[in-house]
């Protein structure tokens, strides 16, 4: 009975929320913006050092957001490995994975690595960039892991922590170096902008892949007897 009542209430809430949102979108859609940001962006794109406007926003105009966002990723990684058990890396199930997957990943892994490299390289001019490349890299790592490759560097140790923080540290160093050289935090010298952005993107790719992989492997694996103990 209470369940039905709860469903009804939630339905009503969601419906009210939906109608408010739709009304709001409709109202806003009918007006014009007082600020034309895309035009402003196009006007400043040349100073950003890259041609892809999204990359320009991410790594130059709003680079502070990106810096913090990598911070969020690192936090997630830290929090993940802090609750993980070291033993979780020894997953017997994965060791005995089937041959098909193994064969598959022999082909897939190099391919994904290649794709990651391409995405990273393309990022400054065309669609692509560190996040996509990092994600693809992580995906290939996941594949390797599913194939039973132990990947010892993911053990919670100094290596892992170095890897987690590498991209973030380089980004941060660039930021503070710009501040120390007399201009604002995160302001790149225009002539070096492109180089710096590409460098940052490269290390970011590695770190992003590292964090995502670390989170993937740090999830604890159940023991066989576990389901009974808390099972309904």
């Amino acid at each position: 009975m209470t369940r039905v009542l709860a469903i009804l209430t939630v339905t009503a809430v969601c419906f009210a929320f939906l109608s408010g949102l739709v009304y709001s979108i409709w109202q806003i859609g009918a007006t014009t913006t007082p600020v034309d940001l895309p035009a402003l962006l196009a006007g400043n794109l040349d100073d950003s050092g890259v041609e892809n406007p999204v990359t320009a926003v991410l790594l130059n105009f709003r680079s502070y957001d990106t810096l913090l966002e990598i911070g969020v990723l690192v936090i997630a990684g830290i929090a993940g490995i802090s609750v993980a058990k070291t033993s979780s890396l020894e997953d017997p199930e994965l060791r005995t994975s089937d041959e098909l997957l193994y064969a598959l990943q022999r082909w897939l892994v190099p391919l994904t690595l290649l794709l990651a490299g391409y995405l990273l390289w393309a990022g400054s001019d065309r669609p692509g960039g560190a996040f996509q490349a990092g994600a693809v890299l992580a995906a290939s790592g996941v594949l390797m892991r599913l194939g039973g490759i132990p990947m010892d560097f993911l053990r919670p140790g100094l290596m892992l922590r170095l890897g987690l923080s590498l991209g973030f540290s380089v980004f941060l160093l660039v930021a503070v170096a710009s501040a120390l050289s007399g201009s604002r935090f995160l302001a790149y010298p225009p002539e070096m902008a492109r180089t710096l952005i590409v460098a940052i993107e490269t290390v970011l790719t590695l770190s992003i892949a590292m964090v995502l992989l670390a989170l993937f492997v740090s999830a604890p694996i159940n023991n066989a007897e576990e389901p009974e103990e808390g099972g309904s």
Partner: protein
């Protein structure tokens, strides 16, 4: 000089997060203490700069808003930066002694601590709606990580519940940001505020504001969305609880207050203002009542946070559609309440941690007889309690007094019930703790004595919150710089 200070403020916490990530607990502790010194000095220097020269904008990467992200360093922001530095320094020092260095996972306390600090500074200085979102996420994930640290089942349960609430809150806020961007084509808060003066159709944005308030209120644990807070703050280690209660919940509230003060006059409504106030009032009573009923020390303190947060929301009805003088009064009241609660609650959690360490139990009636053996921590707890009760000369009293003045001046006498009744209710739960500690019928005399270093830190915080009432005028005069030339300068 200012540029260097700003760079230091932004850089240190992030850099120290990385440094401490790479080291173990003990070395991390040493590094952290160095960092704390730097951060406190930088914050003090910035405070002095702002007090002397007024606030300024800091365009990151050299890009002006709306293209880039600008930080706003005004009186209010710098006051909160300084407050954060004080409370975080105290919690960090306390944690260094309090946490067991031999537990492997405690090494991760330091990087999370520094990320949390960084996120808080992002929020205080933020003037860009999306940047604030990222700041909020930084804070939430770091806080969740800290709660889950060491991961026992109950802690994980609390952490997951906290994470879910935080994520929902962030999304609601982000949806509001999306609508705002659609409406104004800009993410800069002051840009939006000045666009509002141009008399454009803004009918759709009212809902956006409501969404943002919902999200932020959820993250601030406003009644009735407070259910995640007591388990999380109650189960975390005491220095973590201190950080969470003193600072983290204030971050989201601060954003809501900034939004309201800049945009509320146009986009808000009487109903919204009163609703937030009423929820705040209910939080005061419900939180106080729950604190009174709970039999565990840290739960009492955690529920008291729910109650104290309620007072903050009186800001909304008291600044709606009224004179400039009253608005300033209400703002000052809110600011004082934030500061005094932060100091008092941090003191309370830290001394509660000492008490628990000493009697080996979280239960209230285990405190019997502790007043012989640990009067120092008990005294800090008591002083902090005085501030929560809103008795003079504490900062809590100054805040309550200003709230009273603003309520009477706007004729909204019904908030008096909240202010006076809430004070009595908080007295009820604080005195319950005192009472438990005065009981003489226990024969336990083998209390563990925590080190003096652990005891002195909460005492300093409690004294600060006490002294705030006497020093309110000078502190507020720096904060007033925010409101005099708050935007666009």
């Amino acid at each position: 000089m200012t540029l260097w200070l700003m760079a230091g403020l932004l850089f240190t916490p992030l850099a120290w997060a990385v440094l401490t990530l790479l080291t173990g607990f003990r070395r991390g502790r040493a590094i952290t203490w160095l960092g704390i010194v730097i951060q406190v000095l930088v914050s003090l220097a910035l405070w002095a700069v702002v007090a002397a020269e007024g606030g300024f904008q800091y365009p990151l990467g050299g890009w002006q808003a709306p293209l880039g992200i600008e930080l706003r360093m005004d009186g209010l922001a710098v006051t909160f930066v300084l407050l954060t530095a004080l409370v975080a320094a105290a919690s960090g020092l306390h944690a260094g002694f309090y946490l067991d260095p031999d537990k492997d996972w405690h090494r991760y306390f330091w990087p999370l601590f520094w990320f949390l600090w960084a996120g808080l500074n992002v929020v205080w200085l933020g003037n860009d709606l999306f940047n604030l979102y990222v700041g909020l996420e930084l804070i939430s994930l770091a806080a969740v990580g800290l709660v889950a640290l060491g991961g026992q089942s109950e802690a994980l349960r609390a952490a997951i519940r906290y994470l879910m609430a935080a994520l929902l809150g962030s999304l609601a806020y982000l949806l509001g940001v999306a609508l705002f961007y659609g409406q104004f084509g800009s993410l800069s808060l002051s840009g939006i505020a000045s666009a509002l003066n141009q008399d454009i159709a803004v009918e759709g944005s009212g809902f956006a504001l409501i969404l943002m308030f919902f999200g932020l209120a959820l993250k601030t644990a406003l009644f009735p969305m407070h259910r995640w807070l007591p388990p999380a703050h109650g189960i975390a280690r005491s220095p973590v609880s201190a950080l969470l209660s003193a600072l983290v919940v204030k971050g989201s509230f601060y954003i809501a207050a900034r939004l309201w003060l800049e945009l509320g006059a146009t986009l808000g409504s009487l109903a919204l203002a009163q609703l937030l106030g009423v929820l705040g009032g209910m939080a005061v009573f419900w939180g106080g009542w729950q604190a009174f009923r709970h039999s565990k020390l840290k739960q009492v303190v955690a529920y008291s946070s729910v109650a104290q947060i309620g007072y903050l929301f009186l800001l909304f009805p008291l600044t709606w559609n009224t004179t400039e003088a009253v608005i300033i009064q209400a703002q000052q009241a809110m600011t004082l309440q934030v500061i005094s609660h932060a100091l008092a609650k941090a003191a309370m959690f830290l001394s509660a941690g000492n008490l628990i360490l000493s009697v080996g139990s979280n239960r209230l009636n285990a405190l019997a007889g502790v007043s012989h053996f640990l009067p120092f921590s008990l005294f800090s707890f008591g002083l902090a309690g005085v501030s929560l009760m809103g008795l003079p000369p504490t900062g809590g009293f100054a805040a309550k007094w200003l709230f009273l003045q603003a309520s009477l001046a706007t004729g909204q006498w019904w908030w008096l019930v909240v202010l006076l009744g809430g004070g009595l209710l908080s007295a009820a739960y604080v005195f319950r703790v005192y009472r438990a500690s005065f009981v003489e019928d226990s024969d336990i005399d083998h209390f563990f004595h925590p080190s003096r270093r652990l005891e002195i830190i909460p005492m300093i915080l409690a004294l600060l919150s006490l002294g705030l009432g006497l020093m309110a005028e000078p502190v507020l005069s720096v904060m007033a710089l925010a409101f005099a030339n708050g935007e666009g300068t």
